[in-house]
């Protein structure tokens, strides 16, 4: 007899997704991650639109990581028209992106993941006993949002990051204010590492076959932008070759496609994938903490992604302070350069909070002639489903609530953004 166990809506993740597990007397028959978020047609919407207009549409894919979508799209567009930004502008784009990274990691770790480990159904229920943790979450989220406010005009769907640079830069005083607040927030980021070092990484999903993909940072500093993708099996490829090595496939039960490395292998992207591929580029307090907790940053367990995000909070807070110091040393900085819109094709792949995000844009007569976007969650879905199955195989005979919790926790470890992952290329 086949018994279906269905989780209609995975709690505490962005977007609409469910888990369907079919068991029989012998064990698990089928496990599906059902992505039920409706198709959103973002690529098709922008075809034929003026390039600048399209660049205002792409960040609307996601409010959690709108800076990631904006800056990746802008870089792809600049590559398409043959423009390279100055180093100071690149650094400030890094800073803007870091704001997104800090905000997103803080919300994911404290409000989505932590209730599981502390035995609560939601963050509201744990405030009385864990007030400090909620205060940490809000302080980190607030500084991330403030960075985005100052650099990009607002925290969500920023308009100020444009071709060639920024519409307007923050004042020197605003940069100094950000630096002061970042310094005040650093102990909270360090506390996050200490807190998450105590939590279990479930052996049920230990996966020796795991492959991790991350950007090879352009300037040799652990971070976000790069021209090559590093794979944990030792292979590297230029971002322009992404279609050869990241192959998307349609699956019947999901509005989001599944992605495979070299057409067949499951792979993961995200904070742990960045650490696996680029830990040698960490520095400062984050490097010290990496050395202290190296054993928790496991390549073979998706739950390590939570701890990797905690470590990245420390890294990105420190890195933001360094970028502000460099910016102030070079002050005043010209906010942008003119960009001549020419025909061309460009690809950018960057590190969104939850992993690689790829944009390919073709510009013709000043308009978008082709657009392709692959989001981190679309890249992670296939391996996420494999690990949900591994978890279900070990717990299918447990009570349904335990099975539900552990499979949902597996999904949450990937920090999925389901709304982002759903897209259709052609109408």
């Amino acid at each position: 007899m086949y018994i279906p166990i269905t989780i209609d809506h995975i709690a505490r993740v962005e977007g609409k997704g469910g888990i369907e597990i079919v068991t029989s007397d012998e064990g698990i028959k089928e496990v599906k991650l059902n992505i039920i978020e409706g198709p959103r047609f973002f690529e098709a919407i922008t075809l034929g639109k003026k390039l600048e207009e399209a660049l205002a549409v792409y960040p609307r894919i996601c409010s959690f990581c709108s800076a990631a979508h904006k800056l990746t799209a802008v870089e792809a567009a600049e590559k398409a028209v043959g423009f390279t930004p100055r180093l100071e502008i690149q650094d400030l784009r890094d800073l803007l992106y870091i704001g997104d990274m800090i905000e997103s990691h803080a919300l994911h770790l404290y409000l989505l993941v932590l209730p599981d480990y502390l035995g609560y159904s939601n963050p509201l229920a744990m405030v009385d006993k864990y007030r400090k943790e909620i205060e940490c979450a809000m302080a980190l989220k607030n500084i991330g949002s403030k960075i985005m406010d100052y650099l990009a005009s607002r925290a969500i769907h920023q308009e100020n990051a444009i071709l060639g640079g920024f519409g307007k830069l923050p004042t020197r005083g605003q940069f100094e204010e950000l630096k002061k607040e970042l310094k005040e927030t650093l102990p909270m980021a360090e506390y996050t590492v200490e807190l998450f070092s105590k939590f279990e990484q479930y052996e049920e999903v230990k996966d020796k076959e795991m492959i991790h993909m991350a950007v090879k940072p352009r300037n040799g500093v652990y971070g976000i932008f790069g021209d090559y993708i590093k794979v944990s099996d030792g292979f590297e490829f230029p971002v322009e070759d992404y279609k050869k090595h990241i192959v998307e496939k349609v699956v019947g039960h999901s509005f989001a496609k599944h992605s495979f490395y070299n057409n067949e292998k499951h792979f993961m992207v995200g904070a742990i994938s960045r650490i696996v591929n680029n830990a040698d580029l960490l520095y400062g307090k984050a490097k010290e903490l990496y050395n202290q907790y190296k054993d928790l940053l496991r390549y073979d367990n998706c739950f390590a992604n939570n701890f990797a995000q905690a470590l990245e909070l420390v890294y990105f807070v420190e890195r933001a302070i360094d970028i502000i110091d460099d910016t102030l040393a070079k002050w005043p900085i010209k906010e942008r350069d003119e960009v001549e819109i020419k025909d061309g094709f460009g690809v950018s792949i960057t590190e969104a909070p939850r992993g690689l995000v790829a944009y390919a844009l073709e510009v013709k007569d000043g308009k978008v002639n082709y657009a392709d976007i692959i989001t981190p969650t679309a890249m992670n879905l296939a391996i996420m489903e494999r690990h949900v199955r591994m978890m279900a195989e070990k717990h299918w005979q447990d009570d349904p609530e335990t099975l539900k919790l552990l499979t949902e926790m597996t999904v949450r470890a990937y920090d999925p953004c389901i709304s982002c992952s759903v897209h259709v290329i052609k109408l």
């Binding site: 962005e14 409010s63 959690f64 939601n122 963050p123 909620i134 809000m138 607030n142 949002s145 969500i156």
Partner: protein, 148 residues
């Protein structure tokens, strides 16, 4: 009494944008309006200790007709709206506000009003339904009388 008007919603989702549109009209008239979109947590770092907070957002309910206004005050708002409004993420605005009030003493003291406008349709699109759009002048008047 100092008042902050919080405009919530997503203007890409048809009637879900009504809170933002009403908020902009009130801002033009000189009222103290903060647009938070779908991120209620923005309130904490932008809050200046106003004694009264008026939240404007769309709600989905079959109890009232599209465009109608529901006004809830204080605890009533927290009790009745728990499952009524949800951001695109994981926590409704009212739950988010509840969380902020538990960690921020200033916010805990503020008098809370919720002005919900019954949505006809929440789906991709920037136009409001006729029913919702047609009642905007009344909604604006109602909020102005609340501010006093």
């Amino acid at each position: 009494m100092s008042t902050l008007i919080l405009a919530l919603g997503n203007e890409l989702m048809k009637d879900d944008g009504v809170g933002l549109k009403v908020g902009r009209i009130l801002a033009e008239k000189g009222y103290n309006v903060l647009e938070v979109g779908t991120d209620i947590f923005t309130l904490q770092r932008q809050y200046n200790g106003e004694e009264r907070i008026i939240i404007i957002d769309a709600i989905l309910t079959e109890k009232y007709k599209p465009g109608q206004v529901v006004h809830l005050k204080g605890d009533e708002a927290f009790e009745k709206l728990r499952a009524e409004i949800r951001s695109a993420h994981f926590m409704g605005a009212i739950d988010g506000l509840k969380l902020l009030r538990l960690i921020d003493k200033r916010l805990a003291k503020a008098e809370i009003h919720f002005v919900g406008i019954v949505a006809k349709e929440i789906d991709l699109g920037m136009e409001l339904s006729e029913e919702v759009k047609g009642n905007i002048p009344n909604i604006v008047n109602m909020i102005e009388s609340l501010v006093g």
